[in-house]
């Protein structure tokens, strides 16, 4: 028989996803104040944690596929768009200056700080466990439903868009020739996508009523996320540490 809640052997996978999120977000906020040097610690640490959890390949793929091209483009644009200070290198109209390099490093570091935190969460936190943990902390199930369904509906919308493009092709309308043709096909496809999404939302709301979504009273679930007092203490300590870092930097006591 199928086991609906598979046993989790890994300590990080087993951890309360809200605690994981809290720790990563605290690191992220502190990192934005600390500056580029923060990444020298956070990137290897997050890679180690993700590797321990068994998702290193996914993490590196996300970094390579999403982060690398964006960061490269951002770095080059910042480098060339800002001028000032010493000129390190010049060719034709391109000048590489002290200010440009400083800005490029600063902004791309911020982007990497935010991006790597998001990817770490995406690799370490499973959505059903996250929303269940929220419910256990007293968040209204309607709120967690909206959160969960929004994420899950994205691949469904992609499939739906494909079907609608198929419907256009099935009526003899070109959808996959040159860019102009594609754009012409894409615009009418947007209308049925939105229309059908709205209709689906209404019908799905009826289906949810039938499944007792608004039934008053206590709810239960097969999935129980561990939620101890230690988890809450860890979160509070992480927030305090984050605040301490910010205060130390802002007051000039620590200059990273």
């Amino acid at each position: 028989m199928y086991e609906p809640v598979a046993p989790i052997g890994n300590a990080i996978q087993r951890a309360n996803p809200l605690v994981v999120c809290c720790l990563v977000v605290c690191c992220l906020v502190a990192g934005l104040f600390i500056g580029p040097k923060y990444l020298l610690v956070f990137l290897p640490l997050s890679a180690l944690l993700v590797a321990y959890a068994g998702y290193l390949k996914r993490y590196l793929l996300l970094l390579a596929a999403v982060m690398l091209p964006t960061v490269t483009l951002m770095f080059v644009l910042q480098l060339l768009a800002n001028e000032g200070g010493a000129v390190y290198w010049q060719w034709w109209i391109i000048r590489l200056t002290e200010v440009g390099l400083g800005n490029a490093i600063r902004y791309t570091a911020r982007f990497i700080t935010i991006g790597s935190a998001v990817f770490t969460i995406a690799c370490l936190v499973r959505l059903p466990r996250f929303t269940r943990a929220l419910e256990q902390w007293g968040i209204n199930p309607k709120v967690t439903y909206v959160l969960q369904s929004t994420v899950l509906i994205i691949p469904e919308m992609k499939k739906r868009a494909d079907v609608i493009m198929d419907a256009q092709r099935a009526r003899g309308i070109e959808t996959d020739a040159n860019l102009k043709v594609r754009m012409k096909a894409l615009i009418p496809a947007a209308a049925p996508l939105i229309l059908s999404a709205l209709t689906s939302v209404e019908e799905r709301a009826l289906s949810l009523e039938a499944r007792g979504m608004t039934l008053p009273g206590k709810r239960t679930a097969l999935l129980q996320v561990p939620d101890s007092i230690v988890d809450k203490v860890v979160c509070v300590l992480a927030i305090l540490a984050c605040v301490a870092v910010i205060v130390a930097i802002q007051s000039g006591w620590w200059q990273p």
């Binding site: 369904s149 309308i173 229309l195 289906s207 009523e209 239960t220």
Partner: protein, 594 residues
């Protein structure tokens, strides 16, 4: 009904009228209906008669969710719905909707979680959730799908999951709106057995359904709605025997059409028969002897012929009428994920030919249609239209020669009015206005939509939206047309309209392929039938032969039409689909005519 009975009623509706906003006519008018606990009441009627509105009123969704003007009262287990919330009724009434595509919760990542969702909302302890979900997965043959995402399932599989998700909640009242419209005969039979099991356990069932064999077989009482009013009410025999029944746009159980045809040929039957088994029994009372030892054999009303044989493909093709228009030459197709959906299929169609394709959900029928239409490209083999390989064209260019009506009309509709929808492709293809008007008018006329050209397609019932998509494809004036499940959810008027459309297209010289689960429709209106099972063509024969191929029918898991079931009862040989021949066989077996 006296006061004690009323107090004990599962559902009590008094003077119920309901009008949707912006509608000039009420959807329900003066409905008085009492349903006893444990009773199975089926609601039938033409499309637009108010069946789904009545079902939603029993669940409290009308008017609390779908707003409108409501008069009268609806009481469920003694509670007036006017006072309570929709959520509170979950514990009393389980509701299964018509459309399988939107019945998944959207938050469950597995089928198992989908079934557990409602139980969690009801506060059932986790251990009880596990045992109830495990048992329901077993009962509904969903165990192999337990770990799959509900979004990845076919329409038929989603329909099964939706029903299982409600049955597992064990509410005392079940309201079920056309639960099998997307399902093949085998799965339909299995679904009804599930509902019957719930009914046998004491649950009250209110069913909205077009499949009259099932209605006749399972219902304690049938309510026929017409134009929002109760037109007929009584036992299945009383309602279906009433001559007014067909006038209200309701199809009768097939056994009754056979009975009528036999009576026209001089047989005076002692009573009304709602099933082939009953009809055979009555003919035996007239002296007819069944095949074999002469003992009346049980005839399966809804299930397939069970013969444990692995059939060889049966291909009996009449010579084509002229050059082939469509040639499918040893075509196979494998989806990118590695699942092979069509395996080495070969067949040919000529102009003016109308062919049915039947088979279980997942047999490869829709994939084959998409290969012919050009939406998919064969992994191997070749599809040729008028001698040209479809690989010579883009998908859109192929589609200008092969029109395809999707199974789900909502995948195809995206304009604000019926007129815009039907005209859309013609405009995009740059046809002159005069030609566009001529084609659109003709397509709307043929599909019965002339007076609905200004309507928003999304305001029309699903069955009518299907005709909107059919009109859109007819207007393209392609040489080949493919219809995917056009009979699903159609009432008698819709079915007759569809038959007229198919005849007219054949008359115009179009090659038409119809994919359907309606075996009576196939047996009566197609000269040639292709049976698919397990990705392959299992039979391609004249329809009068198809349903006598017992091993093929069993492997494809489709029903034998009522005519063939009755023939098999009285005659060992294959007599085609001629009513005169059947009457002769029955007379020769000893039955007395008047």
């Amino acid at each position: 009904m006296n006061d004690t009975a009323k107090a004990a009623a599962a559902i009590e509706i008094t003077g119920l009228s309901f009008t949707y906003p912006l509608s000039r006519h009420p959807a329900l008018r003066g409905i008085d209906l009492t349903v006893a606990p444990g009773e199975w009441v089926s609601i039938i009627g033409a499309n637009g008669a108010g069946k789904s509105t009545l079902a939603q009123a029993i669940r409290g969704l009308v008017p609390q969710f779908s707003k409108g003007e409501l008069d009268g009262t609806v009481r469920v287990r003694g509670r007036d719905l006017a006072g309570g919330s929709v959520g509170e009724l979950t514990a009393d009434v389980g509701y299964v909707f018509q459309n399988p595509f939107t019945q998944m919760t959207g938050v469950a990542t597995t089928v198992y979680a989908e079934l557990a969702y409602g139980l969690g909302n009801m506060g059932v302890p986790p251990e009880a959730i596990r045992s109830r979900v495990d048992a329901m997965l077993e009962a509904t043959n969903l165990v192999p799908l337990a770990a799959r995402s509900p979004f990845e399932l076919s329409g038929g599989q989603q329909q099964r999951v939706a029903l299982a998700s409600i049955l597992v909640m064990e509410q005392p009242i079940l309201v079920i709106d056309e639960p099998t419209s997307q399902l093949d005969p085998e799965t339909t039979a299995a679904m009804f057995e599930l509902i019957a099991t719930a009914h046998a356990a004491g649950r009250t069932v209110v069913l909205v359904e077009h499949k009259m064999e099932q209605v006749a077989r399972f219902s304690d009482r049938v309510i026929l709605l017409s134009d929002g009013e109760i037109a007929l009410s009584g036992t299945p025999a009383e309602v279906f025997s009433n001559p007014a029944c067909e006038r209200y746009g309701v199809r009768l159980p097939e056994a009754m059409y056979l009975e009528r045809a036999l009576e026209r040929r001089g047989f005076v039957l002692p009573g009304r028969a709602l099933s082939v088994t009953e009809l055979a029994g009555q003919l035996q009372k007239l002296g007819a002897h069944p095949v074999g030892a002469g003992e009346p054999a049980e005839i399966p009303d809804t299930t397939t012929v069970a013969k444990p044989a692995e059939p060889e493909p049966v291909i009996i093709r009449k010579p084509l009428n002229g050059e082939p228009l469509v040639e499918i030459d040893n075509v196979s197709f494998t989806y990118p994920g590695g699942v092979e959906a069509v395996h080495e299929v070969s067949l040919a169609l000529s102009a003016g030919e109308s062919v049915a394709i039947i088979g279980q959900n997942g047999a490869g029928k829709t994939t084959l249609a998409k290969l012919v239409n050009g939406l998919l490209r064969p992994s191997s083999g070749e599809v040729r239209i008028a001698g040209h390989a479809t690989t010579e064209w883009t998908a859109a260019e192929t589609a200008r020669r092969v029109g395809y009506v999707f199974q789900n009309p909502d995948d195809q509709i995206f304009n604000k009015t019926v007129l815009d929808e039907v005209e859309y492709a013609l405009r995009r293809l740059g046809l002159p206005e005069v030609e566009r008007k001529r084609r659109v008018d003709a397509a709307l006329e043929l599909t019965g939509l002339s007076d609905r050209r200004s309507a928003n397609p999304y305001d029309l019932p699903l069955s009518v939206r299907k005709f909107v998509t059919i009109a859109s494809v007819i207007a393209l004036d392609t040489a080949v047309l493919l219809f995917d499940e056009p009979t699903a959810g159609q009432d008698l008027a819709g079915l007759n309209r569809l038959i007229a459309i198919l005849r007219e297209l054949s008359r115009r010289g179009k090659a038409v392929v119809t994919i359907t689960h309606d075996m009576e429709f196939v047996s009566q209106h197609f000269a040639r039938t292709i049976v698919m099972a397990d990705r392959q063509v299992l039979a391609d024969t004249p329809t009068e032969r198809t349903f006598y191929l017992d091993a093929v029918i069993a492997k494809a898991m489709v029903n034998q039409p009522a005519f063939v079931q009755l023939t098999r009862h009285f005659c060992a040989s294959d007599i085609g689909l001629s009513m005169d021949k059947l009457a002769d066989v029955i007379a020769q077996s000893g039955a007395n005519t008047g």
